[in-house]
Structure formats: C-alpha cells, structure tokens
Symmetry: C2
Subunit: 253 residues, 2 copies
C-alpha cells in the first residue's frame, strides 16, 4: 500500500509520499515513489505514484524514451517527452497516455491472475512562467486539476488521513502549515494501516518561481515527526477529555 | 452507505448506527439499521447492518420465520430461531446462516448486474446470565467476537472514523466515554462521506444484567451532538495550532 498527498496552496505546492511497498504482507520493501520527471532551467515536474510498481516503472521508462510522435506533427516530429511539451496540461495528457499504455501492457500479462495493474498519480510542477499546477491522474489516464476550493489530492490509502485535511487545509494555509497538516494526515494513516510507513519523501515548490525548492527525506527516526506524532496524540487526548460526557445515560431515569 | 460502530467495554456494550441509505446518490432515504432480534425476560439480542437493504430485510424475515430444523435434532424439532438458541455463539451461527442464505437468494436475482448483495453485521446481546457478547458477522456468514485488546468493531464506511477509536477507546473506557468517542468517530465520517448521516440510533446494554438498557434516537438537531461536532472541530484546530511548524523549510538554507 501507499499513501501520498499533494497540496496546492496559495504559496506553493507540497507533495509528501511514503516509501513502503509490499507484495503480500510478508514482502515489504522501501521504494521511492516520488519521481522527478524533468528538471532543468525552465521546468520542474514531479510525480508521486500509488499502485502497481511494475506499471509505474514501465510508465517512467516510456516517458524517458518518449512516446511515438503525433502523425499530425509531420514526418520529422520528435518523440513526445515531458521535456518538449509546451504546457503542464500537455504534460498531464502525455503522462496519462503513458500510464494507460503501460497499464494495458502489464494487464495483458496479468490476465487471469488477481494481481492489480492500476496506478494513480499526483503530477505537479511548472514550466517557465506558467502556473504551478497539481493534477490527480487516474489509472485510466484521465486527470483533474487540484483547485482552490479543495486544495489537495490524495492517492493510495486515503481515507484514514482525509478528515484532518478536510478540516484544516485551506488555500490560504502557509507552506509550513500545509506540511504540518500533511504529516498529521500521515500519522493518522500509519496508525491504522501498517503498510504505510516511514521514511517519507517531501518536496516543496514555492509559487514564487524565484523561491527555493525544498526536497527532504524524512527518516524513520526524524526528531520532528517523532515529536509531532507523540504531541498530536497527547493533544487529541486532552481535547477528548475536554468534551463533556453525553447526556444519554443520565437522562435514562 | 452506512456507518455503524459496536463497542464492547468493561462496563457494557454500545452500538451506534446511522440511518441513511442510498440507491445511487440521488435516492437517499432514512431506514433504521439497528434491529432488535429478540427481547424478553431472558434475552436481549440486537444487530446493526451495513450493505444491501434487500438482503438485510430478507435475512430478518428468515430469522422471524425460523430456519429449517436440524435433521440431527429429530423429527419433531422446532424451526431454529434466535429465541430458541441456547447461547450467543449459537445465535451468531444462526444469524450467519440466515445471512448467507439471504445473500445467495438475492445474488441469484442480481446475476449479471453490478448491484452488490453483501451485508455485514454487528450482532450483540446477552442470554440469561451468559456473557454480554459482540460479534462482527461477515457477509459470508462467518464471524469474530470482539475482545478486550481491540474492544470495537465497525461496519460500512469505516476508515474515516477508525483513527479516533484506535487512539481513544480502551476496555476500561467508561460507557459515557465510549459513546462520546463513538460520536466523534461519526462526526469525522460524516464530514468526509455525505452518505453517512443523522439521525443515529444508539443502544447501551450494561454489563451488569440488572442495569438499565438505554435506547435513543439522536436526531438531526440533537443539541449534544451539534455541540460536540462544533467543539471537537474547535479543539482540533487549537491542537493543530499548538504543534510547532516543521523545520524543513527553515533548514533549507
């Protein structure tokens, strides 16, 4: 299993992903799920993946090789890559096409088994002065753009960690706050699903194109996350104690 | 969708269920999902259901009519009912058998459609001086008994409301506290899934067989739940503000 959350707030884009993979519950490994698709002077484009590791790797290889040129672009058109797409929207289309191709290839080899070949993605980044954009790409290759009204998207084991995002994350949340809320969401998920685990990968891309991009691996023994996890548990416990008891038992007379 | 939670703590048994059903998202109704299977001087046995309403109603009708006598019990054996089972374990077996029968009947009529005929149940109660028992009955008819180490079971839309139960509910939790934690779990679920909604049905059966059984319907405008929902949101907000910001951005220099 996997859990990844992408947050597109006013000040920038934050993606956090876990790194635990499992083939059955007795075969657990660490794999990086946050991939850099393109990074040069003009563009920074990353994606996080949840689902079949073989479909994901196949898709990433296809994108590196480039997809067949579009016949409409003439006989000498180059292969289509993340590097030569003009907009983030066109990148999302290309990634969706590669994902659908990879999935169909893998699904054919898995026919008759119960092994799942689906993958969903968080795709984010920016090209030149274009807008900083976050997409949720479904396993069929279609996608939606994350927008202000609900400034986040999740893939993988998403339900345990969704309530805190719904309550606490807003378009106006500062980047520090978004990271904090994202990590609380991970803490809730890890407590209820053992197949989501540390280390986490974090990337922060500020809306200000001149601002610094931050990349971190948050390790098993990260002092901040360890403290956050204990402190959040303590504060929730205190909050619960402050809720007065229900009247339903005392009214029974 | 449905959400029901059953809690078996030292002082007794609490079951809370919502009442919202939907056939598609444009056909939403209120149906009672907390059913009394048997109530007399000797026994009180209830169940809450999640899943196909037609399978549930079919199962309840079968249990009222009684299942065919067991051939081993001789030619004059009565039909098997919740009323004439000697133990809660035997009641759970009977309910599981009725559930599997009902599901098979409905599934046959639904063959070729994508409509789901499965149902899962929380089954709780007591016979005479026997132990107060809570079972989680799966749609295949097998079941597990809820025990001290994890003193709750959920059916339906369970993930959103699970973290608070994992953190806060213990065997030693008083009944008032269990109801409170259960309602917080409902509050989180309702915020993330619109198909779970008020009114709720609540039953509390104390471990002390002489203690009063409490039944309540918690309506849309219940003042305690309305207050709890707002207060819990406020306290979570305060708790989040008390968590200091992560160091990941400031360490970037």
């Amino acid at each position: 299993m996997t859990y990844c959350v992408g947050m597109r707030v006013r000040d920038g884009l934050v993606i956090i992903s876990d790194t635990r993979t499992n083939a059955g519950i007795d075969n657990i490994s660490t794999f990086k799920k946050l991939h850099t698709l393109c990074e040069d002077d003009e563009r920074l484009i990353v994606c996080a993946s949840a689902g079949s590791l073989s479909t994901t790797q196949s898709m990433l290889s296809m994108l590196r090789e480039g997809l067949s040129p579009n016949p409409d672009d003439g006989p000498d058109a180059p292969r289509r890559t993340v590097e030569n797409m003009p907009t983030m929207f066109r990148v999302a289309q290309l990634v969706g096409e590669a994902l659908a191709l990879a999935r169909r290839g893998i699904a054919a080899t898995l026919h008759g088994t119960e092994i799942n070949s689906t993958v969903s993605l968080l795709l984010g980044g920016r090209i030149g002065d274009g807008p900083l954009t976050l997409y949720l790409v479904y396993s069929e290759g279609n996608f939606i753009e994350v927008q202000m009204d609900k400034p986040y998207a999740q893939i993988g084991e998403l339900k345990y960690g969704k309530p805190i995002l719904d309550r606490a994350l807003h378009w106006e949340s500062p980047l520090d706050e978004a990271i904090k809320v994202g990590l609380i969401s991970f803490d809730s998920t890890m407590r209820s699903n053992l197949s989501v685990g540390l280390p986490f990968d974090l990337i922060v891309i500020p809306s200000d194109a001149e601002g610094p991009v931050v990349r971190r691996r948050i390790p098993e023994d990260d002092p901040y996350f360890t403290w956050l996890s204990a402190e959040w548990g303590r504060l929730l416990n205190e909050a619960r104690q402050q809720i007065k008891d229900p009247p339903f038992l005392s009214e029974r007379a």
